[in-house]
């Protein structure tokens, strides 16, 4: 019924079915930390090629409210593909012709230099990337932004560097939505991909669950219990305006956007058991997708829009299935394990991430769809809500690690993990947004 955990058949439709972590959260209510404490990057994992990069302080950075060079460096490290070369005490800018021999001697293969200055409507930020080995200028960018966008500029610089060096598009300037529970207060946050700069989109004394980004990254669909029952809303992030999409008899839950943004797949129990429906994202009459003899929920569209992956217990235990986006016969996808939930499909369509229950724990699994090979990529056992980065290289998920609730990112092979920690209390239901235009 909720996107959280697969519901049991006997549960009441309108009652939120939370994972046991809600209970734990109450019992372990942490002492209040600053609400926006710094997210830390803790990278684990070895044996991978990492590009050594030096990012000295940008000239003039000291007088700006954000340390651009530090944000860029933390982004790159979190990707798992870079390691930082110490550049403390140095200050270069984009006009400097760096002494590459000195930097290669320190072990740097790349060097990013820049400057921050007041100007225009806020700040001028400029930077340049150097290949320290070849002594080659790899280009640069300049931005004029209001103070509020300084972090965004840092993420864009990190994206530029990431793409220049790895050849793949970076995801640092994208956003992540997640939900926290502090005491009895639920808050839906929209944060930068490093978890910083979190802006509250909605706060409620009743649960908020299943936030999910629209394909254009302008709206969030979610389920709110503010009217004491699960109701689906679509929320415009920039204006805070929202509209009610599904408020039918019974429960309304687990919204999922079609890739063209025109349709939402939802779980409704208005005609009895929990079943899948599609509904125009502008609102309207739901259309039933299938008739099944079990509970169907947690729909998610494949990125080509042809299929809807979902969870069903039609085979006696929750498993992941897929069905044509217009309905028809469903095909079972997961076969290992007797309890598989929370499917997420990578944007490149190659990988399925989901949660399996095994030995009393909930573990993130990654399935290569072409070969059906499944790998377990975490050593934690309270994993939930996986969601892919738009470049299909990382998965964000919620878990419990070292006795704390945390959002983690992992590479698909599980070798590199980074912890986005900082919000106190329960933190869960992350959803990674699309590339920003």
């Amino acid at each position: 019924m909720t996107k959280k955990r697969f519901p049991s058949i006997s549960s009441e439709a309108a009652k939120p079915l939370f994972h046991r972590r809600h209970l734990l959260g109450a019992a372990l209510a942490a002492p209040a930390l600053p609400a926006l404490a710094q997210f830390r990057v803790e990278v684990t994992g070895v044996g991978i090629r990492q590009y050594p990069i030096a990012i000295p302080q940008f000239r003039g950075e000291g007088s700006a409210p954000q340390k651009i060079s530090a944000i860029v460096q933390a982004d790159l490290i979190r990707s798992g593909l870079f390691k930082a070369v110490d550049a403390s005490g140095e200050e270069l800018d984009e006009t400097s012709r760096p002494d590459v021999a000195k930097w290669t001697a320190k072990g740097a293969e790349y060097l990013s230099v820049g400057s921050v200055a007041r100007g225009g409507n806020g700040f001028d930020v400029r930077f340049r990337l150097w290949d320290a080995v070849k002594g080659a200028d790899l280009g640069g960018q300049s931005y004029n932004v209001p103070q509020a966008d300084l972090r965004l500029v840092a993420h864009k610089i990190a994206d530029y560097i990431y793409e220049k060096i790895t050849g793949e598009k970076g995801v640092f300037s994208t956003r992540i939505a997640y939900v926290t529970k502090n005491g009895a207060r639920y808050t839906l946050w929209v944060a930068d991909s490093d978890g910083e700069n979190a802006q509250s989109a909605l706060s409620s004394p009743e649960p908020i669950i299943s936030p999910t980004w629209s394909p254009a990254g302008t709206q969030l669909a979610y389920v709110s219990f503010e009217s004491r029952k699960p109701v689906v809303y679509v929320h415009e992030v920039s204006s805070g305006r929202r509209r009610l999409i599904a408020n039918f008899r019974g429960s309304n839950s687990a919204p999922a956007w079609s890739p063209d943004g025109s349709t939402l797949a939802v779980t409704l129990s208005r005609d009895g058991g929990s079943q899948l429906y599609t509904i125009p994202s502008s609102g309207g009459e739901p259309r039933r997708l299938m008739q099944s003899s079990g509970i169907d929920t947690e729909p998610t569209y494949s990125k080509d829009g042809r299929y809807i992956y979902f969870v069903s217990d039609r085979g006696g235990a929750p498993q992941i299935y897929r069905v044509g986006a217009q309905g028809g016969g469903a095909e079972r996808v997961t076969f290992s394990g007797s309890y598989n939930i929370s499917p997420s499909i990578s944007p490149d369509g190659k990988t399925l991430a989901y949660i399996t229950r095994a030995g009393g724990g909930y573990k993130l699994q990654v399935m290569d769809l072409a070969s059906s090979t499944v790998t377990s990529v975490t050593d934690t056992s309270n994993d939930e809500s996986p969601s892919f980065a738009p470049n299909s290289r990382l998965i964000v998920y919620a878990t419990r690690e070292g006795g704390r609730e945390a959002l983690m990112t992992t590479t698909l092979d599980g070798k590199i993990k980074a912890r986005l920690a900082g919000q106190n209390g329960d933190i869960r239901e992350p959803d990674w947004g699309p590339y920003q235009p």
Partner: protein, 253 residues
């Protein structure tokens, strides 16, 4: 209604009216009244009975509905379990099929190592086992490298190992040549002669005859050599070897 001075009078009027009604009732016959009462009682009894019956019927229906519902529920659970098993079985069958195809493909690839392949050597087309082909080509490689003693033992081993092989005439030809090169003329001659005896139409036959003559010349058996060359000219007049034979004959004279 507001209580006024007039209220007592109203009450008195009502009492009067009631008395009048009672007097009127007394006008009915007692028997009629009794009968009407009995009828009514009977009707009430009937209704009560009917209602009890209905109640029983209803709880009966309710019980069977509940029963039916629980049966439905257990059938649904049973059906889901079977569907799950069916899904798993179908998957296993698909896996087995794929496994079998892979196995068959692997087997095919392995069998191919042993299956005869079509080869063309010295204008002869025939089927040879991969091992046979490999051994022949290896021996020929040794010959080409100029190690004639090794080539002789390689080719004689080949002829012994594959006496029925399509390669035999060619193998004997190279064996003969290997012996010739190592000045072992007698076994050379016998190999060339076997070619002429068993495969007179072989492309190498005229060359074999010429080689026999060469061996005989080396053995100073001029007479035999002349005879061999003359036979060659008769048997293979159109061959390149025939031209060489004519030249040799003229030198022998």
């Amino acid at each position: 209604m507001i209580l006024t001075r007039r209220t007592p009078r109203l009450i008195a009027l009502a009492a009067l009216w009631a008395c009048a009604t009672a007097a009127q009732a007394a006008l009915f016959e007692d028997a009629d009244a009794r009968r009407a009462i009995l009828e009514l009682r009977q009707r009430v009894d009937q209704v009560t009975q009917g209602s009890n019956q209905n109640g029983e019927d209803t709880s009966q229906v309710r019980r069977s509905l509940l029963d039916f519902q629980s049966q439905m529920e257990s059938m649904r659970a049973e059906m889901n379990k079977l569907r799950g098993e069916n899904e798993t079985l179908r998957r296993e069958v698909a896996d087995l099929k794929r496994g079998q195809t892979d196995l068959a493909k692997g087997m095919e690839a392995r069998l191919q190592q042993f299956e005869p392949v079509a080869v063309t050597v010295d204008g002869q087309e025939f089927k040879a086992d991969p091992a046979e082909k490999r051994d022949f080509e290896a021996a020929l490689g040794v010959f080409r490298s100029g190690k004639f003693a090794d080539a002789a033992s390689a080719f004689s081993g080949f002829v012994q190992r594959y006496p029925k092989s399509g390669y035999v005439p060619s193998a004997r030809f190279w064996l003969g040549n290997a012996y010739y090169a190592t000045r072992d003329y007698k076994p050379a001659i016998s190999n060339f002669q076997q070619i002429l005896a068993t495969a007179p139409q072989h492309m190498r036959a005229p060359d074999s005859a010429l080689s026999i003559a060469n061996c005989q010349i080396e053995l100073k058996d001029t007479k035999a050599a002349r005879k061999t060359l003359e036979d060659l000219l008769k048997a293979y007049p159109e061959s390149d070897a025939a031209n060489a034979a004519k030249e040799r004959l003229s030198k022998l004279k």
